[in-house]
């Protein structure tokens, strides 16, 4: 059931005229260009629907094809627009993106979308491809792979030295990819490592029939460990502003891929952002977040933020296999002693605390800020995180937990 680029063969369906099947194939291509996962089987089903009378009534056909071709809510929402544009020749209202998000500044995906459609050779499709809506979907396809391969030379560049918006976008993409890879590896190791001692009755009985049913040699079943839960607390204050973009993308990837993850953002206060981050569309998620993140300016009250976390959220989000990851430069403008106290309380609750400090990667940096000094005794892993490479280096550590 491979989903190859060619149009399905409709030879076996005589009733569909060559013209209609050609048009349908072009429509399928348009859908694929827009990020729909459409296979051969769907194409054939669509053709058989059209022969059975649906084609005569566009409204009904649209509704039927919508169920058939959509696979997720984002597909569901944009299908009507694509359908109308393609079959009925209507212009599609373009949804305007809120400016200020990390990826919407220049929109390479839209360009590549149109190029891709032209290369596909379907003239009828190119004219009517709906605009801005579909940018994120096409990123899922070709765009992302491009980013990953080119990102290799970015891997050791400090995030704050990335100036070119295209490079920044690639770094963001790579961070999201990294989060994805980390998750897959973690679960695989989990499987390989699993231990436990539960009796497997089925195999035991099978093995012991020759003993007359007396279970002499027992067969045990190994239990799979519960997955690691990752809780990320990201410092979004002014001093971190050069890094927040990349880390937001990283967190978005983490939330998307880890089965259990929660995210919080703090500057002078703490905000629970998992909800906003669960948005599948990265640009929209970051837009929603930018409101929260912009509250910076006054400085960082890590201690107070942690206090809020311990008081209101910790009981709910932390369990025995939780790792708390704090991403901050440790410049505390509040009370450093409070930070120490709250770190102690947090350390009692969770399994590990990882503190990522982007500045720790700078040459000649020493943890002298009083905030970080107060916190360090309770931190299990203190690591630099200013390049993609340093983020990747975390994975083996997390896998061992």
């Amino acid at each position: 059931m491979s989903c190859c680029g060619t149009a399905p063969a409709f030879d076996e369906i005589d009733e569909v005229s060559r013209l209609v099947s050609g048009k349908l194939a072009a429509f399928l291509r348009t859908l694929r260009d827009n990020g729909f996962a459409v296979g051969l089987a769907e194409g054939q089903d669509a053709a058989s629907l059209m022969t059975s009378g649906y084609a005569a009534r566009p409204g009904l056909l649209r509704s039927a094809l919508k169920h058939l071709f959509s696979a997720r809510k984002s597909d569901w929402e944009k299908f009507d627009g694509i359908f109308d544009a393609f079959w009925l020749g209507k212009r599609v209202r373009s949804r305007s993106f809120a400016s200020g998000s990390a990826t919407s500044a220049n929109n390479p995906s839209l360009k590549s979308l149109q190029e891709g459609a032209q290369q596909g050779g379907s003239q009828s499709a190119t004219d009517q491809v709906p605009s801005a809506d579909d940018a994120p979907a096409s990123q899922d396809g070709e765009g992302r792979m491009e980013g990953a391969s080119r990102a290799e030379n970015l891997i050791e560049v400090d995030f704050r030295k990335l100036a070119d918006p295209e490079q920044v976008a690639q770094a963001h993409e790579a961070a999201a990819q990294l989060a994805k890879i980390m998750r897959t590896r973690l679960t695989r190791r989990d499987l390989a490592r699993r231990q436990g001692h539960r009796l497997d009755l089925r195999r035991t009985i099978h093995h012991n029939i020759s003993h007359g049913g007396v279970p002499i040699s027992l067969v045990k079943r190994r239990r799979k460990d519960k997955p690691l839960r990752l809780i990320v607390l990201l410092d979004a204050s002014g001093s971190m502003s050069l890094y927040t973009g990349v880390f937001l993308r990283f967190i978005h990837g983490v939330l998307d891929e880890f089965r259990e993850a929660e995210a919080f953002l703090f500057h002078t206060r703490l905000a629970y952002v998992s909800g906003a981050m669960k948005e599948k569309d990265t640009a929209r998620a970051l837009d929603r977040l930018s409101l929260l993140a912009q509250g910076a300016g006054g400085g960082t009250k890590i201690g107070e933020s942690l206090q809020t976390f311990n008081r209101w959220h910790a009981a709910r989000v932390i369990h025995s296999r939780s790792v708390v990851m704090i991403v901050s430069d440790g410049y505390e403008t509040g009370d450093a002693r409070l930070l120490g106290r709250e770190m102690a309380a947090l350390a009692k609750r969770c399994r590990r605390i990882v503190w990522l400090n982007p500045m720790a990667g700078w040459e000649g940096y020493a943890p002298e800020a009083k905030g970080i000094k107060a916190a360090l005794p309770y931190v299990d892993l203190y690591a630099p995180a200013n390049t993609l490479k340093s983020l990747a280096a975390l994975e083996p550590y997390l896998a061992r937990l």
Binding site: L68, R72, R259
Partner: protein, 289 residues
């Protein structure tokens, strides 16, 4: 298509008020023999679709509630160990014959998925909250849904005697695999509009008058527009309507106090309770004609 209206009508008779898109989806589901994947917020009536569908086809509903760590022995089949042990104890003969005996149909316990493919009349198989199960189960399910056959090592391959109508529901707590999504027809269940919601209330709650149902639906619509953490679903609306009918309410405007006190049927977190203050509730109620 005629069958679409017929389906909508039949669903309405069984107490489910469907919109035309859902009716299309169900008619396609029968025509193309594909599973139907329903996504949507909690409490918009995804599970009810399957129940109503079973009612329409006058067939059995087999439900599999998913959770993390769900495995084959809980979903497909399990051997009846106690019985097997007893049989071995009672049997004094050579090992081969007892082996054939205890690994036979008689000792097999059907679980939902196996049950669903072995019925004479195709049942409705509801796989509820598939997003709660893990990836491994999803992969296994994919195989079952494409071949409709199961292999049991001790017994051999069991082919489906009838292909069930499969409905999957998901709350979107986890991203489902593309392969599974592609195999299914997709329908996004949204909150109903005022008109449909009031019809749902009338269909489900005995003694709810048309005017009260409409008021309740308008009020709930207003509440959904507030920035709440947990937006009330249809299930909550029905709870609230039942509460109001039970308290003998005829018009929301006459009983503002009761309205405020019964809002706990709709609002389920402390944060939301703080947001939906008396003033806010009054304001929304004021807009309800």
């Amino acid at each position: 298509m005629k069958d679409r209206e017929q389906i909508a009508e039949a669903l309405a008779k069984s107490g489910y008020i469907a919109d035309s898109e859902l009716a299309t989806a169900i008619s396609l589901m029968q025509r193309l023999r594909r599973p139907l994947l329903l996504e949507g917020e909690a409490g918009v009536g995804k599970t009810e679709v399957a129940k109503a569908l079973a009612c329409v086809h006058a067939t059995e509903l087999i439900r599999l509630q998913c959770y993390e760590g769900l495995d084959q022995s809980a979903t497909l089949y399990e051997w009846n160990y106690q019985k097997q042990l007893l049989a071995i104890q009672a049997h004094r003969g050579d090992a081969d014959s007892i082996e054939d005996q205890i690994f036979s149909e008689k000792y097999l316990l059907e679980r939902p998925l196996l049950a669903a493919i072995r019925r004479d009349k195709p049942p409705v198989l509801l796989i509820d909250e598939i997003d709660r199960a893990d990836d491994e189960f999803e992969a296994f399910l994919l195989e079952l849904l494409s071949d409709f056959q199961v292999s049991i090592p001790e017994l051999g391959t069991i082919k489906a005697t009838s292909i069930p109508h499969v409905v999957l529901t998901s709350n979107g707590t986890r991203e489902l695999s593309d392969a599974l999504r592609r195999r299914c027809l997709y329908h996004y269940v949204d909150y109903p509009d005022v008109e449909r919601e009031s019809r749902i209330i009338m269909a489900r709650i005995d003694g709810a008058s048309a005017s009260l149902s409409l008021q309740i639906a308008r009020m709930v619509e207003g509440i959904r527009k507030e920035e709440l953490r947990k937006v009330p679903g249809v299930a909550e609306t029905l709870d609230w309507a039942a509460a109001l009918v039970g308290l003998d309410v005829r018009d929301l405007h006459d009983v503002r106090e009761i309205v405020h006190e019964t809002l706990m049927c709709l609002v389920k977190t402390r944060e939301d309770k703080g947001r939906l203050t008396r003033e806010v509730a009054e304001r929304i109620l004021g807009k309800v004609a």
